[in-house]
């Protein structure tokens, strides 16, 4: 088998079946967009707040330095006032520099920034000191550009810095067309940009964001791994699984679930109400509303935690259904196909209940089923017939026991034919049979079934080419007139059967015979 994929066989009309969709994609829709949104919502406001504060502070300082420097140059030149103003600008630069001296997550970059800043300051100061104020502008420019190139351009702050640099160039060009004092402004702007990048506030915010993102990634990976394992486990599990939430909506299911209930993969989707699944199964005739008693149906349609039931499907399968609570509300429902076990159980039980020769139930099973019939309040009344074959001994003696068996089988068949499908037929042993007829309200109702039996059984039976004829005597007891207990009814029917033996009609009622006895009349 390759890759766990669903084997594709051509459909009868030549089309190929739709390829099975990736289960993971269906079952565990990984909502990255949602996760991302949550992540942004959690981290972005704090980050933006911090960065904005830093940008404002740095911008104010740069502006202050620039104004001081430019006005100093223009108004006072290298006078003491001009120098004082430039000193203010230097102080601003120093503040910015101090701000960015903090360690960062990326040491290499910071060393570069620090070195570049120092180089720029040196490039501005040393020429001015050594060569009566004339600065070496190309060297400084190169240093600043190198620094800017070092900054990864994907950060929005780099853009800010670039813009600050360009603004500084512009102001400088307006203030000092000769371009002799350009260096200071450039350095100042670059330093501001670095300061913003490396400010403690921004670093903390960035780091927090990074850590949060890392955590999310780690969690996602872990989840993916778990999901993959779970999916693989579910796909290879013999048990079917369905998980529903506290609102009884589908959370997830295993592919086996679709197989067990013959559902179309497109039918199932996350969030579908559980009731729509049971409705679909009823519609498909799998649940067999008729066959289920009310309480079982309720248990199927309203699942509760801890509930366990054996669900008979109309196609003959039995499904063991277990419902367990799901952490956080809802249920985890497992479905196990126990048809084989159930069948063998039933077979075993049936065999224990059956009479080996005739295939009808034996005395114990008959009594048990009669009791359950009697306890069913929907029954208007029940007739218990006790049947004893006439002349059966003669058949046995003259034709042998094998022939007797043939006769018993034939009689059983005829009883089945004479009675309704839901009538109970049993064999008490020997040539004694017993039957229970539900929904018999009065003696009047039982006349025709009894006469049917008499007619059917009296027809000749073919045994090894010979025709033998047996008769039957039937004792009839009615519930509730003659009793409400199984044994009691059997006893009454048995007594009536003995009366029937001497009655030309071939049948006798328990109650009439009772009326004929003086004792019973006295009691009556």
């Amino acid at each position: 088998m390759s890759g766990g994929g669903v084997r594709q066989e051509p459909l009868p009309d030549g089309r190929r079946a739709e390829p099975a969709p990736d289960l993971r994609a269906i079952h565990y829709t990984f909502r990255d967009e949602a996760l991302e949104a949550a992540f942004q919502a959690a981290t972005w406001p704090a980050y933006r707040r911090r960065v904005r504060r830093v940008v404002l502070l740095a911008s104010a300082l740069i502006l202050l330095g620039l104004l001081a420097h430019v006005s100093g140059l223009q108004r006072f030149g290298d006078t003491p006032s001009g120098l004082a103003l430039r000193a203010v600008a230097l102080v601003a630069l120093a503040v910015i520099f101090l701000e960015c001296r903090r360690p960062t997550r990326s040491g290499a970059l910071d060393v570069g920034i620090l070195a570049a800043t120092l180089a720029a300051v040196a490039a501005w100061l040393l020429p001015a000191l050594l060569t009566d104020g004339e600065a070496q502008s190309p060297a400084v420019l190169i240093a600043v550009l190198a620094l800017l190139l070092l900054v990864p351009q994907r950060y929005p702050l780099a853009l800010t810095a670039t813009l600050a640099f360009l603004a500084a160039v512009g102001i400088q060009a307006v203030a000092d067309p000769s371009g002799t004092k350009i260096e200071f402004s450039l350095v100042l702007a670059a330093a501001g940009a670095f300061a913003i990048f490396n400010s403690r506030e921004v670093k903390i915010a960035s780091r927090r964001r990074f850590l949060a993102q890392h955590q999310v990634q780690a969690l996602t990976q872990e989840r993916d791994r778990a999901t993959t394992n779970l999916t693989a486990a579910l796909a290879n599990m013999d048990q079917a699984l369905l998980v529903i939430d506290q609102d009884q909506r589908v959370v997830t299911w295993s592919p086996r679930f679709l197989e067990v209930f013959a559902l179309d993969p497109s039918f199932m989707e996350v969030g579908k109400p559980f009731s729509s699944i049971t409705a679909r199964l009823s519609e498909a005739g799998l649940l067999g509303r008729r066959g289920l008693d009310e309480s079982l149906h309720d248990r199927i349609t309203t699942p509760r935690a801890g509930d366990r039931l054996e669900l008979p499907l109309t196609d003959g399968r039995f499904i063991d259904v277990r419902r367990n609570a799901r952490p956080g509300g809802g249920l985890v429902i497992t479905y196990t196909d126990i048809t084989d076990r159930k069948r063998s159980e039933l077979l075993f039980r049936r065999q224990a209940e059956l009479d080996g020769l005739t295939g009808v139930i034996n005395r114990a099973a008959f009594l048990a089923r009669l009791e359950s019939l009697l306890s069913d309040p929907s029954n208007a009344g029940i007739a218990v017939l006790l049947l004893d074959l006439d002349h059966f001994k003669v058949v046995n003696d003259q034709h042998g026991h094998a022939s007797g068996d043939v006769v018993l089988k034939a009689v059983t068949e005829r009883l089945r034919r004479a009675l309704r499908e839901n009538d109970l037929i049993g064999r008490l042993g020997g040539d004694e049979f017993v039957a229970a007829l539900p929904d018999i309200a009065t003696r009047h109702d039982v006349l025709i079934p009894v006469q049917r039996i008499l007619v059917e059984v009296a027809r000749p039976i073919s045994v090894d080419g010979l025709e033998v004829t047996v008769g039957v005597s039937i004792g009839i007891a009615l519930c509730p007139a003659d009793g409400t207990q199984g044994r009691e009814l059997l006893e009454r029917a048995d007594a009536a059967m003995y009366a029937a033996k001497s009655d030309a009609r071939g049948y006798a009622f328990a109650s009439r015979e009772a009326l004929d006895e003086p004792d019973a009349r006295g009691k009556g």
Partner: protein, 382 residues
Amino acid sequence: MQHQFPHAMLPVALHDERARQDFVRSYKVDVLTRLGPGNREVFDRRAKPSYQRKTGQPPRSRREIATAMQGDAFWQMWSSLNRSGQEMMWEALTEPAFRERPRLVAQAQRLRRKRKSFGSLQISGDPVPRYIAAVDIHNQPGGYGLVLGQDDVYAGALYDLSAYHYSVGGLGPLGSDPGDSTVAFLREHHRRFAPRRILDLGASIGASTLPFADAFPKARIDAIDVSEGMMRYADARAKSLGKTIHFSQQNAERTNLSSGSFDLIVSHLFFHETSAAAVRNVMKECHRLLAPGGLMIHSDVPESNQFHPDPYDQWWRDWTTHFNAEPFRSTLRDTSLSKVAVAAGFAPRNVRELKIPSAAAVGVYKKTHGYGAEWHLVVATK
């Protein structure tokens, strides 16, 4: 009391069985004629005033009377006694009929063999229609469609016994009073009428078919019924009485007989055991089967509401619908058969409904008691 005529197909009751039958018959007469009128008193003195107190007005329709009476203890008791009488009757009739069944089956086979010249018998083996199969009409065990075995005549034998005991002898020794009465009506009102082909619908055991054989000896008489057991029994019974009738098992709603082939079509005690839809179909089929100028006569119990305007009488007659498994009887009483006949194609001026005296009343045989003093006819000419 006059006895049922012991023709060769009648189950013979043993001494004890006969005693039981006699008891049940007397019991039924007593419950009906001596206790039954008590209900009227109970209604007038107890149920009606109580209903009036509760609702502010006396019960006016038979449904309101049913509401007024349903909880009354006397009525419930009487109703139970009446129902038990019916069940006891069937048990008392089933015993000899079932005991005699093998003999009757053999007898019918013998008659069919020996008396080939007396009419014919065709059995289709079709099941009876649902409206017959779904209910044991007036609680006859197994219903009209009952077939217990090969060549069975059991349903017919039971019916024959019950026709006598149920009517308490009112249908005459051969149960032929409805037919006798129709014949008497024809003799009096259609003196020149000499049908050559006669058809009897829903003939059951052919009890009312036989008088036509005597009255019109030159005519060919066909009789049909949906029940296999009835037709087989009717054939043997007619043969045993020396009458020539052609019986065939089929549904009168759609026969296989050819159109316009009958001069006289009759039925007796048929419609009250037939669903309303089937009655309409039967009328249409009659119209199809009748030759121009032919006569159709349906005779049934005279209990149509047009004869009984008193709602108490109407309610009283509902008993058998509710408690004696005759589901179509109340509906029939509400139905105008003239209208059904007209709807089936008969010209309104050719349709009439009337009550005729029963043959017993005009002295064909000595009347005993029970009902049967009158019959309700719907007569139509094509």
